[in-house]
Assembly symmetry: C2
Homo-oligomer: 639 residues x 2
């Protein structure tokens, strides 16, 4: 996930005209039917933390499972699962300790904190709306609002002083701005001396395991690893509901490629797909979003840098439309150079249109070799792959052969240092070897500095031997590049809810979700027409058939059948199974589909398989309808 | 999960004679084939943190999926997903801030930390092994080792002083002992004033959502909620590999029952099941583990307190044996009163035999109404259910009716206090209402204390009105009791690996896992006999058939077929699909099963369905073997 920039564009999105999403209506259903609720609400909640109830949790699970099949199974990725707790060294190396920050300011009296850029922008919005604001003033304010994204401490402080910006709720003075790191910090172990963080992304867990992954893949490149897991981000002042939270599920792929071969062997399967592409160039020149260009053309014209990146943009498009996002509610926006994360050379966000504007839901960054090379440097473990050379190369070099037995004997009074000395020799760079060699050729000795103390190693004393050599080399090492498709699952869940939230034409109070059956929270409802033993005794055999087929269900026994349909519609149950008078006679039930409200008559034995097949996308409802008798009585039940 | 006691019993288990599990062999495979590795190993790792590689992650996912189907789907539980980040108030109320602790001591010079009880026990073990230790001394030492489990600071310090126990590695002095809280602490938000913890269990997320859950379940009791998610525990000095870690996946059920009705409507389906039960009574009297008693008898004899608890013990047994734990490697051990967690009235652990001894893998605690009643008190939100009374009850009470409009008007100089006053009135207890009423009946006034300041509310001034009333009541409120089956998924994954780790009879170097197909990491391998285009072209159609059926696979193209079988055996791939000469002619492949090594000949079209059905447990391999021709050539490939 990108660390910067996305916030800016989301904000911009809010100014655009968007279709009328019924956010209030949706939020009402979300809360009332326990999709998602603020966490710890009985204690007044904690901003940016949310709990998923049975409906939301099932929806989220199914979206994750869809992702797993669409990416991990179909692309044969290596799924791994790392820890959230991460030692400081890892995130120092990745750049997050220094750069994963926002600027904050405090109300000097109440201590309330604000994100500096948001505070200034909101102040600008208010100022502009005041009476009698000159045109020049408006222009100046707008310039401020644009520039503030790139401000550092000093410029923020100057702006706050110049414009006399105060704490918005109290009018109190504001503190100087300061960088606030967005990672949650903790101590690992009891000593109090081992600093750790909750990971801001799963990605680092892939990189530190690169050697294990490469080995597992028989040392072949390219390959991809994948993780579904939690990420954490200590937002300064989270708002925007589920779109900006402090704890969230991410699904990330790190696809390792040879930088000289960014082709993808399955690219041809997606090359004719047309995605709405908004390049950085077009954004900066007020150019359009390309909607009529195939992935093949886009890669050929270098609008998208390479096949692998293009392939994953296509896969993401198919994923999002597969789980219920409207095709016209997706666009792919390239990052402009300024908003790029510190580790990335290119990035395309999949953005989804919502009532909040266009929202980044998946990033596709080319992280180059930033992480693997930095971790190699910091850990001393080479995170590289190797490729065969077209022509054999002769390389010249120097061998440094310490005799560790002699060294430990000769420095036995200082074993700790001797150990460090040997470690240092093991890690000598090629340049240093050449320097030592020149000394050695002259004197038969070399002098090594260990933490400021000099050690002389002597050929005569059998402590060291050095040789020059020439070698034929058939392969060369290199840092793989990393293409990273990274998905914010919580945001996607919310977007799916907004896009699938519908109202019955004839009754605006009757809302429903037309989730694709694959992701719907519950697949079926079991509805005995009358709540007495004659009808109820069919519940258990139906339940069994569903469980056998892995179909989740909800039993609803109370109220009229119309009300019960309304209730199950409200949480998006795609199939209603009604036990009625005819069931008592011939063991068939009615099966009703939510979006068309069509009903058919099917034997109990077959109802599990039908629903399973539609959910697995091996059969279509349209085809099933043709196979079974329609049940017309339904019409009067729906009004 | 229990917070105390389990450690003790595990330790005891280690002294028992156990079958020879090949732990070294298993650990070698685990690491080499990337099941599980120490996390951040390139930076020398962090104790108690582990990463799951592709094999381990898939195994873990499948075990979780099995759990989800076995419990959530079959029992129609409400799955929810709460946050790991938890505000202090919640864990203060649950008792974890005060009681989720171990005693620690430090090496005064190096600062190394030890768990006090473990340190003393290990010292005892060493002392006992010294030469010329008198019998009396041995007895004294053993008593110390037994008692130390219940020691508090003072007694630990006295023991360390009395026996002159030193830091084991350095011989340095030890610090005084201190309570160390096992929760990871962090700050939520930027102010530095909002203390939070990483949850030690998912359970609290269920309790704080109780009202939402009850409402979702149409206010009916009993019902169960379930969560699969992370738990954290900042162990002082974690060892024992995967059995004691700092970050782990838990699967927890909170089953809410009316304390007057702990029957379970499906108990009859499991009542004839026989589980090995080790009651607290038998443990304390050196009695046996009952192995020949049905669940029905055990509940009848009150060895197991009630049907609901008994039902879940049975379900757990079926779960564990279903995922590959040997029947004779499971026992259910009741907690003795001393080891019970602070919130529990009864607890049965499912323990699994391993190379480390018997290990607690699932707890089944009766948490009574501890959590719901404490959260009700602390939050002021009633977490209760209600039941119909058999007979209507008349209750007498007092109504306290403040006129808030008048109050705010009359105390307009002190609005903050007026607000507090009104809040206090809203929360007046029945006892206090009676006191106020007596005052009111005498004087027409009441005096209310708000933070030490007295406020007089006067009937005359229209500030307050009070009435006595009688009411017919048809239902009464009560705190549901909670039966909690709680599973440590990481421990269970490890135990499954130990129990399924096998060696080929004819070749001790050839190890394999006979995982049940449902949980095996990869379900199938695709093995072209020869690595050339003629054979390789069949890989893609086979792959497609597998993906369509949701069957995970691994493609292995290099080496002899024998070696490739060995390699896929090593990671427990149950089915090998070989593309051979006959495939080229008739589109059939050989399908080999790992445990029997039997091979059959099946059409490519059918191979996906066969494997899927065996994995889903809708068909058995024994039956499939009868339907297809055997392939005899296989025999020579296996030695």
């Amino acid at each position: 996930m990108s660390t910067k920039g996305n916030k800016k564009k989301e904000k911009e999105g809010q100014k655009k005209e968007v279709p009328k999403y019924d956010r209030a209506g949706l939020e009402n259903v979300m809360k009332r039917r326990f999709f998602v609720v603020p966490a710890f609400e009985i204690y007044n909640g904690v901003a940016g933390l949310y709990d998923y109830g049975p409906t939301g949790c099932a929806l989220k699970n199914h979206i994750e499972q869809f992702w797993r099949e669409h990416f991990i199974l179909e692309e044969n990725l290596l799924e791994i699962s790392g820890t959230c707790l991460t030692p400081e060294i890892v995130l120092k190396t990745s750049g997050h300790v220094d750069k994963f920050t926002d600027y904050a300011v405090k109300d000097v009296k109440t201590g309330q904190c604000f994100r500096a850029d948001k505070l200034i922008k909101e102040w600008v919005d208010k100022e502009k709306k005041k009476k009698k604001v000159s045109e020049a003033r408006v222009k100046e304010l707008e310039e401020l609002a644009t520039k503030v994204d790139n401000y550092e401490e000093k410029e923020i402080d100057e702006a706050i002083e110049k414009y006399k910006i105060k704490s918005p709720d109290t009018g109190n003075e504001l503190s100087k701005s300061y960088q606030f790191n967005l990672m949650f910090e903790t101590q690992i172990g009891p000593t109090g001396g081992f600093r750790g963080f909750l990971r801001p992304e799963t990605a680092q867990g892939h990189f530190v395991n690169f050697k294990n992954l490469l080995n597992f893949n028989s040392n072949r490149i390219p390959f991809g690893s994948a993780s579904i897991g939690l990420g954490f981000r200590n937002e300064i002042a989270p708002r925007s509901g589920l779109l900006r939270v402090r704890e969230f599920t991410m699904a990330e792929i790190e696809y390792f490629v040879d930088p000289q071969h960014k082709e993808h062997k399955k690219f041809h399967t997606l090359k004719d797909l047309k995605l709405p592409l908004w390049s950085a160039k077009n954004q900066l020149s007020n150019g359009p979003i390309e909607t009529d260009m195939t992935l093949g053309e886009a890669v050929e014209k270098k609008i998208i840098d390479n096949e692998t990146l293009g392939y994953f943009l296509g896969k993401t498009y198919l994923f999002l439309t597969g789980i219920g996002i409207r095709k016209d509610g997706i666009r792919f926006r390239q990052h402009t150079p300024k908003e790029m994360a510190h580790y990335a050379s290119d990035c395309w966000d999949a953005e989804i249109e919502t009532s909040y504007g266009w929202v980044e839901c998946a990033g596709h960054a080319d992280r180059t070799c930033f992480d693997l090379s930095h971790h190699t440097e910091a850990s001393g473990v080479e995170l590289v792959a190797s490729r065969l050379l077209k022509e054999t190369k002769v390389i010249k070099g120097v061998k440094l052969l310490p005799n560790k037995g002699s060294i430990f004997k000769d420095f036995k009074d200082n074993k700790e240092k001797a150990k460090k000395l040997c470690e240092k020799l093991d890690r000598t760079s090629e340049a240093d070897k050449e320097k030592y060699m020149q000394e050695y050729e002259k004197t038969g000795k070399i002098e090594v500095d260990v933490d400021g103390e000099k050690f002389v190693l002597d050929k005569e004393k059998n402590e060291i031997k050095m040789e020059r050599f020439e070698q034929n080399v058939h392969e060369e090492k290199y840092y793989p590049n990393v293409i990273e498709p990274s998905f914010g699952i919580g945001r996607i869940v919310y977007c799916v809810m907004e896009h699938c939230f519908k109202v019955r034409e004839k009754d605006a109070r009757r809302t429903y979700f037309d989730f694709p059956p694959a992701v719907a929270p519950y697949k079926a409802s079991i509805l005995p027409l009358i709540e007495n033993e004659e009808f109820l005794k069919f519940v258990e055999p139906i339940r069994k058939v569903l469980v056998q087929n892995g179909v989740s269900y909800k039993i609803d026994e109370a109220d009229s059948i119309g009300r019960r349909y309304a209730r199950t519609d409200e949480i998006g149950v795609p199939f209603g199974i009604t036990i009625d008078d005819i069931t008592l006679k011939d063991n068939t039930v009615t099966l009703r589909e939510i979006d068309t409200m069509k009903q058919i008559r099917v034997p109990i034995d077959e109802v599990g398989t039908i629903i399973k097949n539609v959910c697995n996308r091996t059969e279509k409802w349209e085809d099933i309808v043709k196979k079974y008798p329609a049940f017309e009585q339904a019409k009067k039940e729906e009004k």
